[in-house]
Amino acid sequence: MTRSLFPNIDWVGYVDWTVRDFHGYQTRRGSSYNSYLIRDTKNALVDTVKAPYACHLLKSVTELLPLAKLDYLVVNHAEPDHGGSVGAVVKACPQVTVVTNKKCQAILSGYHDTSNWNWQLVGTGDTLELGNRTLTFLETPMVHWPDSMMTYVSQDGLLFSMDGFGQHYASCHRFDDEEPIETVLAEAKTYYANIIMWAGKPIQRALEAASKLDIKMIAPSHGTIWRSHMDRILAAYQDWVVCKPSPKVLVVYDTMWESTAMMARAILEGASQPGITAKLLYIRAGDYTELATETLDAATIAVGSPTLNGGMMPVIGGGLTYLKGLRPICKAGFSFGSYGWSKGGAAAVQRELEETKFEILRDPLECQYRPTPEVLQECREAGKMLADKALALTCAVESKS
């Protein structure tokens, strides 16, 4: 399957309707591995697909171009979801020159036997003339790995943005205006939160560098291509790179016998104030994808765990480990939980929140066995505090910008 972006620039990727687990990221709407073919005096393929789908990529390319005529293979990122078929392409097209940066070359060589490959190494500002079109390269380290790079076609104002602006979203269409845009933006947010939230500063640098280009279309390596709603995704990235808080309170918990659940609901009740969106997230199903996504724009978060063998529940521990790695910034919150005879769950949660650099708003909110009406009242008050803090954080950001 192919689809034209501009005359002689075609999408030749693979839509993966079945993938539901991307190294733990729950991809409920599948994904796509986008690869693009540019036909000119010289012909270039920009990125490949996950290894199992190499045959689909080669088939799509041959619909448009004999493989013997492929001159360049531009590799913007070596991670196997994009670089996985580079070996297959080189094997099918031994004449091809792999165009990439030095770091990407090293990583490709860690994943493939590259001893017979032809290379052309490029860096920021370097260009590749294809005939009528010119490719310009922009290194964007850590958007998503150290090798990440974007490729710009100046004649069309087309930016191949790699993992930046991507979404795990399978669809029969290729463009943002052919899909429900709110869904695409929601998937872009989930993608940002789960894949690159921790890299806010490098992404800000990349955005700054890209803003100097005249961009008319952004073609990421996963999901739909931005041509009608570029303003919306760019504005969203401006918010996400700083983890901009919205007036939102998130209450996350696990429970054994419902006591911590009762506390969570009371906290939620207290947080449900005018102007506040309060959300309850029961983590039992290990939905860390949603946890990260909801955290991205929440201002304040309470995390609850009963005490299990002196510590917290492993599902909560896993979620907090995941969140810590993603490094959400400018969040405040506290921990809570019910215990039986010796405590430990809520304190363990608080230590994780501290390590994630959350501002801790109060001591762990604990109760023994069932919460009493007094404890539930304390939970409601703590919830109200989360709401007040959320409004304060949101206003602080509004007045700064």
Partner: protein, 54 residues
């Protein structure tokens, strides 16, 4: 004091700014960073840093 650049991701350690997010005061020379300090952007260790030529 010299600035140091991360070989992996290009982050620049500027001793004048330190790395306050990770408890490193402004004015801390690269050499004085604790051994377990890692690049705040990509997590590699101090040995992956090279001095920036001015």
């Amino acid at each position: 004091m010299k600035k140091y650049e991360c070989n992996v991701c290009g982050y620049i350690y500027d001793p004048e700014q330190g790395d306050p997010d990770n408890g490193v005061e402004p004015g801390t020379a690269f050499e004085d960073l604790p051994d377990d300090w890692v690049c705040p952007e990509c997590f590699v260790g101090k040995d992956e840093f090279t001095p920036v030529e001015e």
